[in-house]
Subunit: 455 residues, 2 copies
C-alpha cells in the first residue's frame, strides 16, 4: 500500500460529479495493408489477452483515516477497463467526436484501477480509434502522452507491441510535476507554499511590478485582470470535444514571416478563433482574453536550462487586425518570459503558484469568484516527431482530451506529431454551444495570418 502524494490527493478532492478529473487521449489509426473486415474484432480479441496490467494500472484506491492509498486490485476485471465499441454510420469524424464527448463525461469507478481503454471500430476510410482515459491522480497528462507513445513503434513492421496498460511506465517524477500540464501546476499551490517561503519577497516584488506596468501599458498582463467572460462560468457534467490537425509548416511559415515563435502564432490563431466564436455568441468582452500558457524559459540555444513555467498571455481578442493582434501577443509573452527568466526556478514556481492562487482558491472553495486570473488554458505539448505505428497500423492523429474546470470551461491542448499540430478542445457542453465552430475559426485564424504575411 502506497500513499498518494498531496498533489495526487488534490485531484481526487477536486473531483465532483460535474467536474471529473480524468485526462484522455484520442488516437486515430489507419488499417495496415491487407487488413480484412474482421481486423478490429481480432485486435480486440488480442488486446483481451493482456489481462494482467502492469503497475500502476493494477492499483486501486483505498481510503484510510481520510487519506487515499494505492493498493493492488486483486479482482482485476479487464472487461471493465478495455472496451470494444463502434461508431454508428456513417462513421465520420463527427460521429467519433460525439462518441468521445459522451465517454469523456462519465466518471470512472473508484473501486477499480482508474483507467479505461476504448477501441472504436466503424470509423470511415479504413480507420479505427483508441480513446484512452486515466484519472489525473494516477498519471498526469504529459506522462499519459509519453506512455501512449512508448507503446507505439516507428517501425511499420514491428509486431506484438503490447497495449500501454501492459507496459511498465517509466518512473514518474513525482516531485516536479510537468508545468506544461496546467492541472499539475495547480498542485504547486499545495506543494510549494510551505517550502520556499524565502523566495516570497522577490515574488511579491514581481507581482507589484507587473501590476504597475499593467497600469502604464494596457497590453501588459497583470494578475487578476482577466475580463468576465462566458467561458468562466460554473461547468456542468457533460462535455463537448472537438479535434483537428493543422499543418505545422503553415504555422512555421507564418512565424518566420512575422518574426514570431510557433507558440506566439498558435496563441494568435487561438485568439482569432475565440474572438470570432465570442462575437458569434454575442459575448466578446471589451478587454482582451487572458490565456494561461506553459512556456519554455530557455535563455539561449544551449541544451541546459530548459525551464518551463506558466505565464499569462494577452490573446488580443479585442483587436480585429491579425497582425496587430499577433504583435500584442508577442509583446505580452516576451514580457512575461522576461519577468520569469529574471527569477530563480523556485521564484518562478512561486510566482506561478501565486498567479494561479485565485483559480486554485475558487476551485477548492468557490470563495473568490470575482478574481479571474485567466479565461482559458492553452497548452502546447511536444509529441512524437516521427510517424508511429501500432502493430502495422499507422497513427494518423493523436488528440489530447483534457479537463474543463469550474470557471475555466474550455481547455485547448495541442500536440505536435510528425508535421502536424493536433488540436484537442475539451469544454463544458452547456457553456460552449456550437463549439465545433471553433475548428473552422482556427482554420480562419491561420488563413488571415497567411494573408497578412503575404504567404
Amino acid at each position: 500500500m502506497k500513499a498518494l502524494s498531496p498533489a495526487d490527493q488534490l485531484f481526487l478532492w477536486l473531483e465532483k460529479r460535474q467536474q471529473p478529473m480524468h485526462v484522455g487521449g484520442l488516437q486515430l489509426f489507419s488499417f495496415p495493408e491487407g487488413a480484412g473486415p474482421k481486423y478490429v474484432t481480432e485486435l480486440a480479441e488480442l488486446l483481451r489477452t493482456y489481462s494482467e496490467p502492469e503497475y500502476p494500472f493494477n492499483q486501486r484506491l483505498t481510503k484510510r483515516l481520510g487519506s487515499y492509498y494505492w493498493k493492488e486490485d486483486h479482482h482485476f476485471d479487464l472487461e471493465h477497463h478495455f472496451r470494444h465499441e463502434a461508431l454508428p454510420k456513417p462513421g465520420r469524424i463527427r460521429e467519433l467526436l460525439t462518441h468521445i464527448s459522451a465517454e469523456h463525461s462519465n466518471l470512472m469507478d473508484r473501486q477499480r484501477p482508474l483507467w479505461e481503454c476504448h477501441l472504436i471500430e466503424g470509423v470511415r476510410g479504413r480507420r479505427f480509434a483508441l480513446y484512452n482515459k486515466a484519472h489525473h491522480s494516477l498519471i498526469d497528462g504529459m506522462s499519459a502522452i509519453r506512455m501512449a507513445t512508448r507503446a507505439l513503434s516507428n517501425d511499420p513492421n514491428a509486431k506484438d507491441l503490447p497495449p500501454w496498460w501492459a507496459m511498465q511506465p517509466k518512473k514518474r517524477e513525482a516531485t516536479s510535476p510537468t508545468a506544461t500540464d496546467f492541472i499539475s501546476s495547480l498542485t504547486q499551490l499545495s506543494n510549494s507554499a510551505g517550502k520556499q517561503l524565502s523566495t516570497i519577497p522577490t515574488v511579491i516584488r514581481e507581482v507589484y511590478k507587473s501590476v504597475q506596468q499593467a497600469n502604464e501599458n494596457p497590453d501588459t498582463v497583470s494578475i487578476f485582470q482577466a475580463p468576465q467572460c462566458i467561458l468562466n462560468a460554473p461547468i456542468t457534467g457533460s462535455r463537448r470535444f472537438a479535434a483537428q490537425s493543422y499543418s505545422m509548416d503553415r504555422i512555421k511559415a507564418i512565424g518566420k514571416a512575422m518574426r514570431a515563435t510557433m507558440n506566439d502564432v498558435v496563441l494568435a490563431i487561438c485568439g482569432s478563433a475565440l474572438r470570432n466564436y465570442l462575437i458569434n455568441q454575442h459575448a466578446l468582452p471589451d478587454q482582451p482574453l487572458i490565456a494561461m500558457v506553459p512556456v519554455s524559459l530557455r535563455k539561449d540555444d544551449s541544451e541546459g536550462g530548459n525551464q518551463i513555467a506558466m505565464i499569462l498571455a494577452n490573446l488580443g481578442t479585442h483587436i480585429a487586425d491579425p497582425s496587430d493582434r499577433l504583435s500584442v501577443i508577442k509583446a505580452s509573452v516576451k514580457d512575461a518570459k522576461k519577468r520569469m527568466s529574471q527569477m530563480t526556478p523556485e521564484e518562478a514556481l512561486n510566482y506561478t503558484a501565486l498567479t494561479m492562487a485565485p483559480t486554485g482558491l475558487n476551485l477548492l472553495t468557490g470563495l473568490a469568484p470575482g478574481l479571474q486570473a485567466f479565461n482559458v488554458v492553452i497548452s502546447n505539448v511536444p509529441g512524437p516527431k516521427k510517424a508511429c505505428y501500432w502493430n502495422g497500423a499507422k497513427l494518423e492523429g493523436m488528440y489530447p482530451v483534457s479537463i474543463p474546470l469550474d470557471g475555466i470551461a474550455l481547455n485547448i491542448t495541442l500536440l505536435s506529431y510528425e508535421d502536424q499540430l493536433e488540436f484537442g478542445l475539451t469544454a463544458c457542453r452547456r457553456t460552449l454551444p456550437s463549439m465545433q465552430r471553433l475548428l473552422d475559426y482556427l482554420e480562419n485564424g491561420i488563413k488571415e495570418l497567411e494573408v497578412a504575411a503575404d504567404l
Copy 2:
C-alpha cells in the same frame, strides 16, 4: 417551478457515485419489411426532429434552501439526451448487454432533464434496440414501462408515432407509488410513518406473530432473518446487465401441473438459479435466501380489491429437490399473503414499511448492517399483452434495467409481453462475477420443474 415530493427527493438523496438512482428499459425491435441499409440512420434523423420534449421531459432540477424543484430547461439540447450508438461486430446479444451494462453505470447530468434515449444500431439479424433511461425522481419504473408502451402501437401499419419524450405522459399517481416498484415502496418509510400511527398496534401484533411462527416453523419467513450472503455487500459503481426471454406457456404449464401460481413458479426458478449460482461461487448460505416480492392481495376473482403489497418470500435455496423447493415457496407466499390479507390496506402498507425499515435505514444511514431483511428483489411487472410496433418495427422484447443498492447488489425484474416473460437482471459488476450464468441457470430451473412435473 414545482417542488419535488419527499419521495422523489429521497431518490436524489440516496444517489451516490456508486449508486445511481436511474431506471432503464431495453427494447429490442426487428426491422420492418423492406427496410434498407440506412434504416436506423434515417430513424435517428427522424427522432432528432422531436427536439421539443413534453412535460416532464423538459424539466431540470434546481435547488433552493436545500430542497429540489423542477423548472423548465430553457437550453434544452436534444443531442445530449438522444444518442445514436452502435454495437461492435458481431453485434450479438452479448455485445448489446455489454453496451447496456456500461451505459447503465453512468450517472446523468443533473443540470439537465434527467433522461436519455439511446438508439442502438448494429444488432445482428436485422434488429435494433432502444435503451431508455430516466432518473427515479422523474418517473418511477412502472410509469416508465407504461409510457414506453404507450409510444407503441398494436398496429404494424401505424406511422408517425412520436418517441416517448414527445408524448405527454398521463398524470402520475403521486400519492400512491406503485408497490410493484420496490424502490418506490421504500418511500413508504418517509410517507406513511406519520400518517397512520393508529394501525401500528395491529402491525406490531403481526410482526410478533410472524416471529413466533418462524420460531416454530423454519420455512416461515420472519422479518430480519435473511442470511448473510455475497449478494448483500456494499456495491461499486459499475453494472452488469443480463436479459433473456422465457416462454410464458412453459411457466403456466408448470404452475398448472404443480398447482402453483405463475408467481410461485417464477420464484422457484429464481431460487433454483440463485442456488446454482451461489454453489458455483462457493457461497451458498445454509439458510434459505429471502426475496422481497410484490404480490397481489386480491382475495377472490372479483375485479375490485386488487391490492398490492411487498412480501418476503422464502426462496428455498437450501433445498436441492425442485418440487420440495416449490412447496416451501408456495407455503411461504401463501402465509405472507394471508397475513397481509387480514390487514387493512393501511396496516398492510405499514407492515411493508416496517419490513423494509432496516433496508431503508441501511441505505440512508448505514447504521444497521447486521439486520438483513431480504437478500434479493424479484419484481414481476405486467407488460403489454399484444404484439407492439413502432412505426412498423416489431417489438421483439422489452427488458427492465433496474437499480442495485448498497446491500442489495442484485435486482431481478421481469415483465410479461405477449407470450413471453422478459427477465432483466441488474447487478453490481464486482459483487456478481459471471452473472451471465444466471440466465442459463434460470433455463435449468424451468427444465428441472418440467421434469419434476412430468411435462
